[in-house]
Symmetry: C2
Subunit: 369 residues, 2 copies
């Protein structure tokens, strides 16, 4: 990264920062040693950070620069959504290879801001350094939540209903499609699989030289929702707020590592068991069609795919109807996919034949550190 | 990084997190999607993040793993100190090469926690991912500050005194010594200079294979304070609090990029000029001795070296005596090194002969992205 790229970032972020001035409780934005913001009385601060690493979480064949920016912001917003919180501020730490052009950096920021703007989040600071090889993007989100009301993983009770707020497995299917397409196009890109990334970091290789400058190209219609799900996930911030306000939500997680893993986390934190119903898992028809096309069980993607960034959680039985109605009014998908059981029953799956079996912890875990 | 290293981090941070439970206003610590903390009434939230990148900010010949952890935390605390704020919580995002051993990771965390504990800061969250090549450490610090009282760069007025709270140039001298020593030891390590890092990132090279497992070895006595200054900087959090409470501090910065650069930032933000006095700059005798030994003007390091992480700022003339006394009582160094002048005079240096000249913006800028 050259000096003028640093200037570009300063220009970009300071221009944008001016738009926020005086809004959103920002007392000091970009341009001093640290940002200073207000927290309304009666609220606590909720905060989280997440990192996306080139060749670990994405590669030139799977995501464009603007997608990387968008998703880095989105995955972090999802963590705040999973607490029922309201995301408000972001800090962006970039470590940028010298081979990166100003144009690519601009697109990365366009994606970051597109997602931030969509959710009313202000980028109030960050740090930009050069990287000897790959791009690393760390986003920190700071939000607020009504004091004492944050939705944890640990409150699920026997008899509660387990829900999800979106389609499952789409991101995994989209990734599969993009990797297969990358190979076909002869990108020489092993696809960002965590076990294949090493040794690909030479600055002179095309992967760092700007393959992502080229548009991904026309994605045939049936695969588009899958690619969108992978590259442009939309965190369920509004849904999280509805669950919090309802007073009926006993546990909440976002689906970042796959429903099976998230359900297990809730079960363990709540000292409960969970029974998932395979027939109830919401799957997009394009996902199941693509899975069958490539010989993969769609249920595998729905349970273990991850990065869907919808929410999963539990609702006390007397609240299901009310929450269902509130979600419907807000246009938010709400699907009951299982039940909280006693701890000794563990985490189990009732399959399409009606048989139950223990749900394996793993499955595969694409693109996870 | 292998799976058991992720388990190690979880173990380390969760154990440590238990010690914080119920203290420091932590409602939810490590272990859920995000941390939740209290903000006392009458306070604003102050936040900042900084990244340290292997081969850009440090290398095997300049810093041990525990130093990397310590300094990553310290440089971030310094940004909060520079606002007069009270740092309270940290999020740690690591991107770790597979070649890293559990022992190295443990040492990195030991350093992070050593610094955090020293300043009463609780690590409440973070993210750990693998890296295809080098180590990247991003720390976010969240603190609080009395509402409306944060110390900005923009309040300096003509006639104010410019001060610094520590010795200048020590870190640059320490870095110079470590790089020279590294070359002597034949480490094959170009030294982490930002322009020399590329192409050194192959996992098979010793730089990533654990050179830092070996202790740096006995540093001869005269160089020890310099190496300490570079590897273990101590941010001036208490000084920042004193300046804020005094009511006399009109502008504040931390010396991360060198005094010349920080003074310029204050001058520009305050639409003022600044005159620095070369004879008044506090320099350690070991620094000046080493500078002469290697044929470098110590003034160059004092003005442009950077990473000293003391504070520089301005005090209204009627407050100098009171602030001086308060610093003395707290055992904090306080040196008047210049004066705020009118904008048209620019940023100038009065040299040891009493002649003034415009202060160049640059000098060199080691280890800066």
């Amino acid at each position: 990264m050259e000096l003028d790229e640093f200037s570009l970032i300063r220009l970009l972020t300071e221009e944008k920062s001016k738009l926020y001035a005086g809004k959103k409780g920002i007392a000091v934005g970009i341009g001093d040693d640290a940002a200073v913001v207000d927290v309304p009385a009666g609220r606590q601060v909720v905060m989280s950070c997440d990192t996306m690493v080139q060749e670990v979480h994405f590669s030139a064949s799977t995501m464009r620069d603007e997608d990387v920016g968008f998703k880095a912001m989105a995955s972090n917003l999802s963590d705040i959504a999973a607490m029922g919180g309201e995301p408000q501020f972001a800090l962006v730490a970039l470590s940028v290879p010298r081979s990166y052009t100003s144009a690519r950096l601009k697109r990365l920021y366009d994606g970051l801001y597109e997602c931030a703007d969509r959710y009313g989040v202000a980028v109030v600071g960050g740090d930009t350094t050069s990287s000897p090889s790959h791009l690393t993007v760390t986003v920190t989100i700071i939000g607020t939540v009504e004091a004492g009301k944050a939705l944890l993983r640990s409150g699920a009770r026997e008899g509660d209903a387990l829900f999800v707020t979106g389609l499952l497995g789409g991101s995994a299917a989209g990734l599969h499609y993009l990797l297969a397409r990358g190979k076909e196009m002869g990108g020489g890109d092993a696809g960002g699989n965590a076990d294949a990334g090493a040794g690909m970091m030479d600055d002179d290789k095309s992967v760092n030289k700007g393959d992502a400058d080229k548009p991904l190209g026309a994605i045939p219609h049936p695969y588009r929702p899958l690619v969108e799900a992978h590259c442009r996930p939309l965190p369920s911030v509004e849904a999280g707020r509805i669950f919090l306000r309802s007073g009926y939500c006993s546990a909440l997680n976002d689906v970042s590592d796959g429903l099976a893993s998230e359900a297990r986390e809730i079960a363990e934190a709540s000292q409960a068991g969970i029974e998932l119903h395979a027939t109830k898992l919401p799957m997009d028809a394009s996902m199941t069609a693509y899975a069958r096309e490539v010989g993969i069980d769609p249920l595998n993607w729905a349970l273990y795919g991850g990065e869907d960034y919808c929410l999963t959680g539990t609702i006390s039985p007397d609240g299901v109807e009310a929450v269902q109605r509130q979600c419907k009014e807000a246009g938010i998908p709400f699907h009951i996919v299982g039940t909280v059981t006693s701890r000794d029953r563990g985490v189990i799956l009732q399959d399409v034949q009606g048989n139950t079996r223990a749900l394996e912890a793993g499955g595969y875990n694409h693109f996870r550190g």
